[in-house]
């Protein structure tokens, strides 16, 4: 099984499209760091302008933690699109390349194939988030150093002590991996239905866009649907930056996302088991 996973993992990383996500993060995040280095203080002054009328603000809020938080806020919404590029190709890519029949004639079960492929997709998703963590948090701390984290919400400002931040980021990145695994599972599911990778990639992107738009429009009918959209839970990594931590809400999100992964993987496994391989 481990050998099979290694083979699938290598297959994923032999395709250049796998690196698009890493390149995108590797280019975009340093650009954000550069922009923050040049203009970050102005942004911070703008956010805290009203506070400065009444308070003397002493110390450095422009630090690696704050910038990583901003980056995670901005980029987390777009990471799913990078995940679909690879996950949508995991099964359909075999059909496109005409290697499906060759693959299943090997002395391994279809279940082993599907598990190893899914694990390869999961590993890619996790590595992409890890890469994001290294580029935003790691590089941010090197350039700007550590400090208190300012979290500005609509009616609340939370300032976390710098000793109280790192664990929140680690859990938030862990949660982001879980969220991206749902996207991976969805693309993997679509990938099992067709024989060309473009379809699953576009379909997964379309589903995510539609769900995000529905979540964003604040009308009653969409508000009712919202709890059933997985995109609503993907961004719940932000709950780790609440004080006090709402453990029940976080566990609920983990439960919902895990449920999606299990369900989507289960359906995909059933489809693949029964699939009549003709290519």
């Amino acid at each position: 099984m481990l050998t099979l996973f290694k083979i699938e993992f290598l297959k994923v990383f032999k395709k250049w499209r796998t690196y698009i996500g890493f390149i995108a993060v590797g280019v975009l995040v340093p650009l954000v760091h550069l922009a923050m280095y040049l203009e970050g203080q102005n942004s911070l002054d703008f956010i805290t302008r009203d506070l400065q009328n009444s308070f003397l603000l002493v110390g450095n809020l422009l630090n690696g933690y704050w910038i990583s938080y901003i980056i995670l806020n901005v980029i987390a919404v777009h990471i799913p699109f990078l995940i679909t590029l690879v996950a949508g190709d995991l099964l359909a890519g075999e059909a496109t390349a005409g290697t499906y029949r060759l693959l299943i004639t090997r002395p391994i079960s279809r279940m082993e194939i599907i598990i190893s492929k899914f694990l390869a997709g999961f590993a890619y998703s996790a590595l992409l988030i890890l890469w994001l963590a290294i580029m935003s948090l790691g590089l941010g701390l090197v350039i700007f150093g550590a400090g208190e984290l300012l979290v500005v919400r609509s009616e609340l400002i939370i300032i976390f002590d710098k000793t109280d931040v790192l664990w929140r980021f680690l859990l938030a990145y862990g949660f982001a991996i879980l969220g991206m695994t749902v996207v991976c599972s969805l693309a993997f599911f679509f990938s099992s239905l067709v024989e060309n990778a473009i379809g699953p990639i576009i379909t997964t992107m379309a589903v995510i866009i539609i769900f995000i738009i529905i979540s964003a429009i604040d009308v009653d009918i969409f508000r009712m649907v919202k709890p059933y959209l997985f995109t609503n839970y993907i961004l719940k990594w932000r709950d780790f930056f609440n004080d006090p931590l709402d453990t029940n809400q976080i566990l609920n999100s983990i439960f919902v996302l895990s449920g999606h992964i299990i369900t989507l993987f289960g359906i995909t496994a059933i489809i693949f088991q029964k699939k009549d391989i003709l290519s």
Partner: protein
Amino acid sequence: MLIRIIGLILLLIDPGFSQDKDPEIILERVKEEFKRIENYKADITVKVDIPFIKMPDRRATLYFKQPDKIHIESEGFAMLPKEGIKFSPISLFETEHTSFYEREEKIGDINVAVVKVIPLNDKSDLVLSTLWIDPIKNLILKVESSRKPTGTFVIEFDYTLIEKGLYMPESIEFTFSVDPMMFHSRNPREMKIDENKGSEDTSRVKTGKVFLYYSNYEVNRGVPDSLFNADK
């Protein structure tokens, strides 16, 4: 009749009576007392109790030099009320103003003189200040002040004896009105995603408090000007 006239004469020539009730003399004494502190350094602990802000208690070192130079050093981020930390009787009384003695009152066991100060200069941020002054030690125990545009705030002082006859604040309680709009996010993304808080309280102005606790005073031992130059 003769007794009344003698009483009136005694009343007029008694310096104690006129000076105790003369607001300008009271304020001048406070100013003179404050001028004895040429400079100081102190460790401060800041505790913030504001409905819309959550932050841990912070520690900082405060440097002061007459007339109004302030420098604050903090290992981490600290948020200090401007009016509380920069409060100075000198700056309060230096603008053209009128004052009147309102009444005598008790704060704890201390008989205090309540004096109102109204600036005569239209350009002054200060609208009205009420001061509760200990006329024996010449210390301000409480200030209620209305300023533009920050609104009304109250500062209450607790003093500690540093050396013979020299009192310094041990704690300051700064109370002010908080407009929730002050803390509304300037980040539309944040406003959109935050689902944790309702909006039913946004129209209500609330009261915020900041507590400053002073310790490890070093008074009149010299503070270099270079510290304050760095802040400019």
